[in-house]
Amino acid sequence: MAGEDLIAQFQTLGMSEQKAKETLKNANVTKNLQLALAQAAGASLADGTGMLIYHMASKLKPQQAEQLPLLVRYIVERKLDNTQRVDAALEYVLKCGQKLKANIDVKELEQECGVGVVVTPEEIERIVQAKIKSSYKEALLEQRYHFNSFKILQDVRSELKWADAKSVKAAIDVEIFDLLGPKTEADLKPPVKQNEKPKAAKAKPEPNQTAQAVEAASDGANTIAELMKTKVHFHAPGENFKTDGYVVTEHTERLLKEHLQKTGGRVHTRFPPEPNGILHIGHAKAININFGYAAAQDGLCYLRYDDTNPEKEEEKFFVGIRDMVEWLGYKPVKITYSSDNFQQLYEWAVVLIRKGLAYVCHQKAEELKGFTPKPSPWRERPIEESLQLFEDMKRGKIDEGLATLRLKVTLEEGKVDPVAYRIKFIAHHRTGGKWCIYPTYDYTHCLCDSIEQITHSLCTKEFQSRRSSYYWLCNALEIYCPVQWEYGRLNMNYALVSKRKIGKLIAEKIVHDWDDPRLFTLTALRRRGFPAEAINNFCAQMGVTGAQIAVDPAMLEASVRDVLNVTAPRRLVVLEPLKVTIKNFPHAAPVQLEVPDFPQNPEKGSHKIILDRVIYIERGDFKEEPEKGYRRLSPQQSVGLRHAGLVISVEEVVKHPATGDVVELICSSQSAEQAEKPKAFVQWVSQPIPLEVRLYEQLFKHKNPEDTNEVPGGFLTDVCEHTISVVQAFADQALAQVKVYDKFQFERIGFFSVDPDTSNNRIVFNRTVGLKEDSGKK
């Protein structure tokens, strides 16, 4: 009933019935509209006034709600007569919004909104003509109607702020027509895209439709710096109150002022991992966003170990996390620990109890699980009692699991009274035996953010439902409240990142350790040879949207290739050597050849290789019985040797007397200038050194090995066989002096990186990626 009434009322604003119905579904807008309607009672809503009211109501944030009557009045009085003015008014009101009961300076408001400013058609025409003449004429003549006239529109409006958009557009169209005359046939064809990217990005990111993009959402960029400077639109420090959902209290203005004094207006971010595991590719995104944003804004970023859970925290994790942050090229301004704040957090908990906002509860953990857990019978117990019990908890008088401290707040998802403290009789690696009550994530996180004066608390979308409790808690304690911004998680297909599950893979001896190159932990990626820069660029390409992204490893590999292409020097290596003796070796003795590190870019350096009578080529580059279209060496077909200036032809195939395997080829050679141009050049080595080369394959068969629909038997059953193979390769002596993590392109094979297992008498390489995306796989 009420619904139909409302629909009718909404229609008086000029909405279609359909639109009115849809609007009704949005409780917030409906509420605003009802208030506005009450306010505008009796006034004429004709001529678009109604729709302006709707426009305002749909954009009104809670912080601005107080000024709704004023806005309605201005719209009804036609002082705000277009969306542009309404938007300006909203913006102005928001700016005043850090104080409760803010006084709006009407004069300033009117000026901000250009109330009463009239732009004549003549003025518009004059400016349009001037702009086209000075900036766009040539482009217009060249691109004709394919030129995007929106640019002109923007330009004109920057000068004539209050000009009506439609009139400006009309004026521009007239001018363009004057200039170009009627549209030709060519003008009607769709424009030819000039630089269509033949990118390897075949595996496109698949945005998960569940998450709605945050305001800051936009596409990715090539580098993090570019992304953070151009695509991310977070609030400016101190303007917390302008963000969606921010709760303004009577203290906000003072707290923000103090906050700005403490930070000097600089951006503060933090990367807050729990030190109970190894970082993975998902963390790389968090690291890049937090450190990257701070860097781009000339701010600072903390590395904060969120070490509130004393279980399973080991020294190696702390070191590992810092290592990885530094490897990605970031330096925290300071390393902090949540546990540093235990005393403060405890004192705040006492404050909350005293305020009646927290209580000691004895419900068991199992009782709190499920969809509709029973409400706590201890919720309304006397404050004194909770204080005493909390003290008792702290003093070890109550056993584990028999008491928790809970906050009197309901989360968006409906979870009632989240736990703030629980008892654990476990010593903490930093505070030792001092505590047996430990704060939860929900309780600790926002308070540590506040302590560190974080301006942008950046986190993944899952935490959106904690935002209101985050704000509630800071406000309850009357402390500075940072702004939480959420971005979508980055998930890697064909991979696992769960600590427990990787642990299982290790225990089952499917992989060797946390840094096994088949995994997607950051240490694994480093060991596999991925350059940090490539990982960072990859994150930049993913952008900072709110959408959860799942990508195939190929996408990341493409980034890796992009970087290695220009950074990894080339070397000649054969993975499966086949001995070749050159009968008519043209030199008296072995010769040294100078080979460029980057053939396309010879000035970037070179190295020397040896050419001798006996060389080794890739066994796969010779076929005794070639199929059609075969381009390399066969008894009937010669092949060129890279960088050697020789073309060899098979004279004799030597076979193992017992097995019949080819063990050597006797070849003759011709200089490349004289010989007929061979169909292919292959890599070779002479007087080689042995290399152990580890070739890794994708570990899982399915995209989501953890998904029980996809993989009913569990992720352990989804493991591919033979995902590692070790070959003894031959390499040129130029590779004798490599250091761990040196990266090379083995010509015609792929990119390889020196494994940490390398020692004085053993050189081990990992295959990082092939030269091209392995098409043979699927």
């Binding site: 584990e400 009789f425 035996g433």
Partner: protein
């Protein structure tokens, strides 16, 4: 590189693989067993670590609580109780198998202060007990072990084993100074006791009857008990269980109808309810017709008939006014809830008892035995005529007080003559499940009769019972005489004089009642109670005003103690200073002692002791030094603070005893 090298390389690889496999096989075959035991072991280790962690925290908490309970001088506590805790812990450590023995702590007579201030006397008893168990230890050995096991306490300066096996405790002066400072800063805070909801039933006179000295005792004792328990932070309900119900009201109403036929419209001018009562009683005894009508009125009153009800109210109001005058004079607060209140509750308690099969038919009466063995006198719950008795109303009252008022402690301040009756009521209430002795406590606070100076029951010369208002008037007269004989009428302003007169008059009546063990009878003598020597209200009030006058002599303002406290340390070097400090700090012990068995004479004795010790102190320790011209040359601020602390302690005690301190007397 030769082929040989290649082959060798392959071989070494194979060897490495074999090695790896064999070690894997080994670990699997061996590991299966080990892993399992390992799991258990790991679990146990985790549990062990947790327990250790908890233990260390609890130990720390105990240490902290011990320390903070004393160091935080903001907290008030009884020294005896604290020492009991200290020794209880010592027992638990040194003699865990005898851990349940109650600790005996006794204050040491101040004359023997060199042996200690308090002592623990358990060693002798324990030696005896151990001997019974076949363990031979001398009390001194035991005392020494106890001493060693005592946890540190900031209130203890040192401990010694003395005599046959006493552990003597010497208090710390630092602690005492802090505790006194604390008293000065925030007043006397009650020692912590578990909070209870207490109902004190006192005064309880009868409508239309004389309020006599027996009621006076109940009123004075009940008021002080209420004040004491309120100070200890109990939730106290003061109830005046007046006799406003029963057959006598029938004849009163009937008589009223005859004497003042217009009583419904014109308020009857009953000046003297007592003679009115006597008149009606006479008629009741002689006039059969009147008697019959009187019985009818009882029924109509109980059924709530409007006119009877009105008459009843009018009669009660006359008495009520008289009572209130006395309560106002004596500063008594009590809520009236007479027998009439329990009319409906009596019906339901009879029902309740019947359902519980507690009632027994006895010659037409319904009686209830207070125990299964049917010993003593049974309660008459329903009379043969169907009426109720005091037994019924007291059963209804105790049930209401426990079930509805939710009291856990009920105190009846009634003369000793009723002790059998109340013991029967308590036992009966327990038997029928109203009173649960593990939760509820019921006390009959009994007191003896008031005697005249001749040692016989207190009467007027003509042999009548003494009217209370007359007694109070007499007190006022005697008090004024006493003041005038000391020339106070010339020093004090008229207002001060009348204030002093009241303070002395009512104070001495109350105090002489309270300062004796209440159980014994006491002789009422204005001469004795107005004596300014000995344990009397007059002596206490004089001493108090003397203390107050000390700071008045100063030219500086000492009303703001906070600022003095910030700059002046309390010094307890002089023997008398130290003695006074220790005496003052006993207040918490004394308050707890008083509340334990509800005897207020301990508090009176304490006041007397404080005054005596103060006098000693003041005689030997100057507070203000003057030269021959009477000019102040030196002020000992620490001692001024001692004076103030003494005044504060006395003030608090006075309040509980109902004495009004006056700063000039």
């Amino acid at each position: 590189m030769s082929e040989l090298a290649l082959e060798l390389k392959t071989l070494s690889d194979l060897e490495r693989k074999t090695e790896e496999l064999s070690s894997q096989i080994n670990s699997v075959t061996r590991g299966d067993r080990y892993v399992e035991t390992d799991d258990d072991l790991i679990k146990l280790k985790v549990t062990n670590n947790k327990l250790k962690h908890r233990l260390s925290l609890i130990r720390e908490s105990i240490a902290q609580e011990l320390k903070s309970s004393v160091m935080e001088v903001t907290e008030s506590f009884s020294i005896t109780e604290h020492l009991e805790n200290v020794f209880a812990q010592a027992f638990a450590i040194a003699f865990p198998e005898y851990g349940n023995i109650p600790v005996i702590i006794a204050p040491v007579n101040s004359a023997s202060a060199k042996y200690g201030d308090y002592q623990c006397n358990n060693a002798m008893g324990l030696a005896k007990k151990m001997k019974e168990m076949g363990v031979n230890r001398t009390p001194r050995e035991i005392a020494n072990e106890l001493l060693k096991a005592c946890p540190a306490s900031p209130i203890i300066n040192k401990m010694e084993v003395g005599g046959a096996g006493f552990v003597n405790v010497f208090l710390s002066k630092d602690y005492a100074a802090k505790a006194l400072q604390n008293i000065l800063r925030s007043g006397i805070k009650p020692p912590r006791v578990p909070k209870q909801r207490v109902l004190v039933d006192f005064s309880s006179p009868n409508i239309a009857k004389q309020m006599h000295v027996g009621h006076l005792r109940s009123t004075i004792i009940g008021e002080s008990i209420s004040r004491l328990l309120e100070f200890l932070q109990h939730d106290v309900i003061r109830i005046n269980h007046i006799g406003d119900w029963g057959t006598q009201f029938g004849m009163l109403i009937a008589h009223l109808e005859d004497r003042f036929p217009d009583f419904l419209n014109v308020s009857p001018p009953i000046g003297d309810l007592q003679s009115f009562y006597k008149e009606s009683k006479k008629r009741f005894d002689t006039d059969e017709e009147f008697k019959k009508r009187a019985y009818n009125r009882v029924v109509s009153l109980q059924t709530g008939e409007e006119n009877s009800r009105k008459a009843w109210t009018l009669i009660c109001d006359v008495s009520r006014k008289e009572f209130q005058t006395i309560y106002d004079r004596l500063d008594i607060t009590v809520k009236e809830r007479g027998e009439s209140f329990y009319q409906s509750h009596m019906l339901s308690v009879v029902d309740f008892l019947r359902k519980k099969n507690m009632l027994e038919e006895d010659e037409g009466r319904q009686i209830m035995w207070s125990d299964e063995g049917k010993s003593g006198v049974p309660l008459t719950i329903v009379k043969s005529d169907g009426g109720f008795t005091y037994d019924t109303s007291d059963m209804a009252a105790i049930r209401h007080r426990i079930d509805e008022e939710q009291c856990t402690w009920i105190i009846y301040v009634v003369d000793s003559g009723q002790s059998t009756h109340f013991n029967t009521i308590f036992k009966a209430a327990e038997r029928c499940g109203i009173l649960n002795p593990t939760i509820h406590r019921a006390n009959h606070v009994q007191f003896g009769v008031v005697l005249g100076e001749d040692g016989k029951k207190f009467k007027t010369r003509s042999g009548d019972t003494v009217k209370l208002s007359d007694l109070l008037n007499e007190g006022m007269k005697r008090s004024l005489e006493q003041l005038c004989s000391r020339g106070r009428d010339k020093i004090l302003t008229p207002d001060e004089l009348s204030e002093a007169q009241e303070a002395v008059a009512y104070g001495c009546i109350k105090y002489s009642d309270l300062c004796h063990n209440r159980i014994s009878d006491y002789v009422f003598s204005f001469d004795k109670m107005l004596d300014d020597r000995g344990n009397t209200a007059v002596y206490l009030l004089y001493t108090y005003t003397r203390i107050c006058s000390i700071s008045r002599k100063l030219s500086e303002d000492v009303s703001n103690l906070e600022t003095i406290l910030d700059t002046v340390e309390i010094v307890l070097d002089h023997e008398k200073e130290w003695k006074l400090a220790k005496t003052l700090l006993k207040i918490h012990d004394i308050l707890l002692k008083c509340s334990k068995d509800l005897f207020l004479h301990f508090l009176c004795e304490f006041c007397f002791e404080v005054c005596a010790v103060f006098t000693e102190f003041y005689d030997s320790c100057y507070c203000i030094k003057k030269n021959k011209d009477g000019e102040i040359v030196e002020v000992n601020h620490s001692r001024i603070l001692m004076c103030e602390a003494t005044a504060a302690v006395l003030r608090q005690c006075f309040y509980i005893l109902g004495l009004k301190p006056v700063s000039r007397l």
